[in-house]
Symmetry: C2
Subunit: 346 residues, 2 copies
């Protein structure tokens, strides 16, 4: 048997199949790609040869000649974050029926890592990439697009010219949360927020303020903002302790947390301090992670259409790839929804 020098048998090629079936390579290719243009008898002979040899097409050779490849690359900020896995699922669901495949990777917010994966995808000749840009990586991405590779920004709300993007309206999401608390009659509201280096935090603060102003309140009087360095449970717990130190007469009666993990910590602090939720303190989170409804006090949270987000991003990309002329770029902004649970309306 033919070998490749390393002792392993060589994969059968289209030539081997042709020889075995007693036809030309062109005919084998026709069986694979245009079976109706081949006489049934010939077709069956070729099929038999394919099965006997366990022939598997070589995607590289195929792509080299055809110039195209049905693959899309995606780079998310953090693959361990449920938000992004749900987005990835949405992307896959859009690609599968078109027989596209997904190459998925995680940049971990590292622009260098992101650049490495972008180059890799480009070398592989993907039709396009879906990227959640990390800070300062936009230039690399735009250069990629200029070289003719489809680009859709994922979870981006920044206004960039000539790039398609999908995102969720964080300003509106935060506003929804605050409107809900105002509706419930809360007049002193706390906001546990993260640093300004994270876009989401900036946008959500804007939403909080906008909602208060729209309701005729003075943000300075109603709002107590606590800033935490990282968006995890421990930070949320610490922040809530600060709030609980405030004299009961001036203490906020509701807290909006910039994400669910922070809210989880806040709830824990409340539990330990024996403050009843939602009677003595209402809590709203953001992201509506899978466990939000499973908590001992199910958490009211702002839900984002993650699956749709991914689906739409992939859809935009495929459309761009399908278009012949220079693509028209679209920016899609989804609206979040508030899911009311026990932590605010017990």
């Amino acid at each position: 048997m033919a070998t490749r020098g390393n002792g392993r048998p060589r994969r059968p090629s289209i030539t081997d199949v042709a020889r075995r079936a007693g036809v030309s390579v062109g005919t084998v290719s026709n069986v694979l790609n245009r079976p109706d243009q081949v006489t049934p008898a010939t077709r069956e002979r070729v099929q038999a040869a394919i099965e006997e040899l366990n022939f598997v097409r070589n995607a590289s050779a195929r792509q080299l000649r055809a110039g195209t490849i049905r693959t899309v690359g995606a780079i998310v900020l953090d693959i361990a974050n449920p938000f992004f896995t749900e987005v990835a699922r949405g992307i896959e669901d859009r690609l599968a029926p078109d027989e596209y495949t997904l190459m998925l990777s995680s940049s971990d917010q590292d622009p260098e890592r992101e650049a490495r994966y972008l180059r890799l995808y480009e070398e592989h000749g993907v039709q396009g990439v879906l990227v959640t840009p990390s800070q300062g990586s936009l230039e690399t991405i735009l250069a990629l697009r200029d070289r003719g590779i489809g680009v859709v920004l994922l979870d981006a709300t920044t206004e960039v010219e000539d790039v398609s993007s999908v995102g969720v309206d964080d300003v509106r999401g935060a506003a929804l949360a605050v409107e809900h608390l105002l509706d419930l009659g809360h007049e002193r509201i706390a906001f546990i927020n993260g640093p300004d280096s994270i876009r989401q935090c900036v946008d959500r603060r804007a939403g909080v303020v906008a909602a208060l102003v729209a309701a005729g309140r003075d943000p300075g009087a109603v709002l107590t903002e606590v800033t935490v360095a990282s968006l995890n449970a421990d930070a949320g717990e610490k922040a809530m302790h600060e709030l609980l130190a405030i004299d009961a007469s001036r203490r906020p009666t509701a807290t909006f947390c910039v994400n669910d993990f922070t809210a989880l910590g806040a709830l824990r602090a409340l539990r330990w301090a024996d403050v009843r939720v939602p009677d003595a303190m209402a809590v709203v989170g953001y992201d509506d992670v899978a466990i939000a409804p499973m908590l001992t006090v199910p958490l009211t949270s702002v839900h984002q259409p993650t699956h749709t987000l991914g689906w739409t991003a992939a859809d935009l990309l495929l459309r761009e790839a399908g278009a012949d002329g220079p693509a028209e770029h679209q920016r899609v902004l989804f609206q979040p929804e508030l899911v009311v649970r026990t932590s605010t309306a017990g």
Copy 2:
């Protein structure tokens, strides 16, 4: 500029670079792959041409000629499950320094989907695949291996000849949980388990029974098993309600749940019934998901070395690929650890 018929400019090839730099294609290839064999002056000229043209290697042509590709495919059961995302992270971390890349996908326990991805990976010429086999898919996987593609089974404990695999000892993990409860003095223990169609459930029951027997207890007397259809919070909550219906004098004083989501539901039921944890009922989960320590009652749980699992699987694969002769197959079984938190030892 050269075009490809669809109006888009053609990507510059190594030939374009060679022409621009006034050298042969062989020299350009040398600059890319063996830079030290090229005179500095020539090298710089070529580098300049590469940058001016924005040349990017064509991975397909490269692979076609070289016959190999530094890519590994992985198929997990459910990409939305934190267990698998952490495993994926481990895989990536092992591959990155060797400049391998990962193609990741999710079979959703569908053998057909799994087969489709396997074939795709094979067409792309991956060096190997990491698979969590879904039911009855082993044959496809073995055929793949026979065709010379590296295979490592992920999270598999079944004994299959001639295939490498990595897994975590579920029997031992469950035993750890029960030993812990016995140490705390519990003499009536509940076990909320899933269906026998899931291997983990079978293994974990075996561990529960083994631990009781080893401690000289009669499982029939100590154990109350409740079976749920799916491993989520609602099922866990319902199961705990069943347990709470038992007369207090005979009711178990501790519950071991087959995974953390079930435990979450159980905790919720306890909270609503105002049963104090851990005093009136201790609870142990399994998986140690990220939110286990964030709960209002931090959850005691069995921790699995997910990252290491993925890392090791990838490591085995790379070793097999590196070996020249027929690979020696290894089966690695990791040991889980119990993480004690408030829900058992408040």
